[in-house]
């Protein structure tokens, strides 16, 4: 075993040395006129694409901090990075931690080039907040695992080549112990993908139906019954992904073939997220809209706007307060977990204020609606904010139990075989 954070001379490489090294490499190799695929292959082979990954798997075994420094040098040079964004990075993190060498060999390279898109198959119609109550079944027929059931809220499934799927393989043990994690080939007869239309008219997600879908045993991750633990790795990376979506949407600026192809890739991947700003309430538009409509002179409208501003600014300052304390080396307190709950309330209050400002126009949508339908899109998208990524109610449980140390609610579903736990008939 070699120490992955030391250079050839045995000394730990400093950030400046790393920066110099990558810059030199970029000066010699970066070429915006390559195809996106050609460039990425070059970058991956050099180890600068994912420097924080292990040396044997396309990286250089650097710390996360040094990895960020490398990315920074790429940005400075305007060089396009590997496809380390989107749901595929959840797959990568999970495979790196729990996968076999065959999994790493087969999946990681094409994942980084951007050739393979991935999807996450966890949520089901019958288990939303209670993910561990899922009922998609995996049965071993002596040759393959056979999958039957239904998944939902799957982003990008319609163009995904592979999926991470969590299914129940043992019904005779408590719920958390009977799940197994698989990597599934989406391109097979037993997998049907249907777009799921939301109340705001967009279809950003899919429903997936498994009817005797096949998974060869070597595509099980970790071991049978260990699926929950593996899924936790995937979910731990999900929050970071959500943070990354916003910054990634911009892409790199420049001219050349590689930029054009990256632009097309971003357009495809970002498509499902285009209504997300509206989902958060578009606080930024309130005062401008109130002035444009003359409603600014109405004190009841000003009250509604003020309520949004108070909640939004106080939430923003809370985030900064947490970061500032962290920068001083203080232990993070439970206030770090409040952002999501605050965001839901901001979104609701903002939708209320936008309604007051729009007046009768709030009854119209699309081209007839205010701002060509942008305002109506806010009104019919906000309800997702308090559900997606963990409902407000689950957030409150987490905050009160883990943050405030309050006692847990007694449970009746974890101390018996899953077979005996009351559950939905759907799915």
């Amino acid at each position: 075993m070699t120490d992955t954070n030391t250079s050839a001379g045995g000394q730990a490489a400093s950030e400046q040395e790393i920066r110099n090294e990558v810059r030199t490499w970029l000066e010699q190799n970066w070429d915006p006129n390559l195809s996106l695929l050609e460039w990425r292959k070059k970058l991956i082979d050099s180890g600068w694409g994912v420097p924080a990954w292990p040396k044997e798997w396309h990286g250089r075994g650097l710390t996360i901090g040094l990895g960020d420094a490398v990315d920074d040098e790429l940005r400075k040079m305007g060089a396009v990075s590997v496809a380390k964004t989107g749901v595929r990075m959840l797959a990568a993190a999970t495979i790196l931690e729990h996968g076999t060498d065959m999994h790493k060999e087969k999946f990681l390279y094409q994942l980084l080039t951007g050739e393979d898109t991935w999807c996450q198959l966890f949520s089901e119609p019958g288990s939303g907040s209670d993910l561990a109550g899922l009922t998609t079944r995996a049965d071993f027929d002596g040759e393959n695992w056979i999958l039957n059931g239904q998944k939902v809220w799957t982003t990008s499934a319609h163009h995904a080549k592979y999926g991470m799927v969590l299914a129940r393989s043992n019904w005779d043990v408590p719920k958390h112990q009977g799940m197994t994690y698989f990597l599934i080939d989406m391109d097979q007869p037993g997998v049907e993908v249907r777009p799921l239309r939301q109340m705001n008219g967009h279809a950003s997600f899919n429903e997936i139906f498994f009817t005797d879908a096949k998974i060869a045993p070597e595509f099980m991750v970790s071991k049978e019954g260990n699926g929950w633990k593996v899924a936790m790795t995937t979910l731990a990376h999900e929050r970071r992904l959500a943070d990354g979506i916003r910054s990634w949407g911009r892409g790199d600026k420049g001219t050349g073939r590689v930029y054009d192809e990256q632009k097309a890739e971003i357009a495809t991947v970002m498509e499902p997220y285009k209504w997300y700003p509206q989902r958060a309430g578009r606080v930024d538009l309130l005062i401008e809209r109130a002035k444009a409509t003359g409603k600014y002179d109405d004190p009841t409208v000003r009250q509604a706007i003020a309520k949004v501003l108070i909640m939004a600014k106080a939430a923003e300052w809370t985030g900064r307060r947490v970061k500032a304390a962290h920068a001083l080396g203080r232990q993070p307190g439970p206030e770090g977990s409040l952002g999501k709950l605050a965001g839901s309330q901001v979104a609701r209050l903002a939708a209320q204020a936008h309604t007051l400002i729009a007046g009768a126009d709030a009854m119209l949508t699309s081209e007839d609606g205010a701002m060509d339908g942008l305002i109506s899109e806010i009104l019919v998208s906000v309800p997702a904010e308090s559900i997606a990524g963990g409902t407000d109610e689950i957030q409150r449980n987490i905050i009160s139990e883990r943050g405030l140390g309050m006692p847990k609610e007694p449970r009746t579903d974890v101390d018996r075989p899953f077979r005996d736990v009351p559950r939905n008939t759907v799915g």
Partner: protein
């Protein structure tokens, strides 16, 4: 912008908190609130001599400790948490701030050292029986005489006005209206022509007085007719100080709620294990943390003279007032029947929350101010 406290400020907070824990248990609060005087002279002396709190934000040149507005707000927060009965808000946060903002150099040198030492209790006589918080509503008149001014009219809701040695009063030149012709004046609390009456306040821990002026001789504080300019800033600083105090009280209500929810058994389990209770606590926690952030931001904006300070002050006041009131209500609710008894301490905080909700402008007033000030 300073978003969190320095290690020194955190250390200072702990010192103040220890003092409050020691000197202001609710048994003490209950004794003092039943008196007309409303505070304990021995504790006030200790607080002045041992910690120098009355001069906390007064510059050293005027006999103070020379700390800033952030430290003042830390003191307010800790006093709010302990519900300390003492004339700190009136003398230091209100009156001294007014003198620092409006007084001449000579007046600061004369008036501030005795406030900083705790020897002089000062009060800001601003509001009147109309109950409006806008400076333009001032009706008290100040008529020039050969050797100064005489005040005529009345002030109300003057915090600790009944015990103040020094009154800072806002008055207008006769015949003026709006924010024009407003000035600040100083006069001893026991001057001839000054009649004071202790009002029966809903919040017995915060004493309010009505003061009548009948040709009461007074000295102009700072420049004549400058009130329209100096008052909004003085009131904004006062609002942030009160918001800080409210945040301390709200935090106490949250802690009290969580503590009780983990003691009280019903239906064979702790009530804190019911989502109906724990979700309430999670919401309280969210609101209290948001209110803290708002108050801390506003205090930092004041200290750094940030252009968005006026908006931040109104934001903090509206947010903290609502949060304290709601936290006190929920604390009573979580305690159930016992929360409505006199013996339980929650009502002491509830009443402070109520008086603080209204004092210096209620949440509706400040929300409106917030929007109007947003881009200016």
């Amino acid at each position: 912008m300073q978003y969190t406290f320095s290690d020194e400020q955190e250390e200072f907070r702990l010192i103040v908190r220890r003092f409050m824990d020691d000197k202001s248990p609710t048994t003490e609060v209950r004794e003092l609130m039943a008196t007309d005087q409303g505070y304990d002279k021995t504790v006030w002396k200790q607080l002045s001599q041992e910690l120098g709190l009355p001069g906390i934000h007064i510059p050293e040149a005027y006999g103070g400790q020379g700390f800033g507005f952030i430290e003042l707000c830390i003191v307010m927060e800790e006093m709010g948490r302990a519900l300390l009965c003492a004339p700190f808000f009136s003398a230091t946060a209100l009156a001294a701030t007014a003198i620092m903002s409006a007084g001449t150099e000579e007046q600061k040198l004369t008036l501030l050292p005795d406030i900083a030492s705790g020897d002089t209790l000062a009060a800001l006589a601003y509001n009147e029986s109309s109950g409006h918080w806008d400076p333009a509503s001032t009706a008290l008149t100040a008529t020039p005489t050969d050797d100064g001014y005489v005040l005529n009219g009345a002030k109300s809701f003057v915090v600790d006005g009944h015990v103040a040695d020094l009154l800072i009063a806002v008055a207008r030149t006769p015949g003026t209206s709006g924010v024009y012709g407003l000035s600040l004046f100083s006069l001893p609390g026991n001057s001839g022509g000054v009649k004071r009456r202790l009002l029966q306040s809903l919040d017995p821990t915060r004493k309010l007085a009505q003061i009548e002026f009948d040709n009461a001789p007074a000295t102009l504080l700072g420049e004549s007719d400058a009130g329209g300019t100096t008052l909004p800033h003085i009131l904004d600083l006062a609002a942030v100080a009160l918001a800080s105090e409210s945040v301390g009280g709200a935090q106490k209500m949250l802690e009290s709620s969580i503590e009780y929810a983990q003691l009280r058994m019903q239906f064979g389990r702790l009530i804190g294990s019911f989502q109906a209770i724990k979700h309430k606590c999670a919401d309280m926690f969210l609101e209290v943390e948001l209110a803290k952030s708002a108050a801390y931001y506003a205090a930092a904006a004041a200290a750094e003279q940030a252009p968005d300070f006026p908006a931040a002050a109104s934001l903090a006041k509206a947010c903290a007032s609502d949060t304290y009131m709601k936290a006190a209500q929920e604390c009573i609710q979580i305690h159930g029947g016992i929360g409505f008894t006199w013996e339980n301490d929650t009502h002491l905080y509830f009443k402070r929350a109520k008086s603080s909700e209204v004092f210096l402008g209620d949440p509706n007033y400040h929300r409106d101010q917030l929007v109007l000030r947003w881009e200016n």
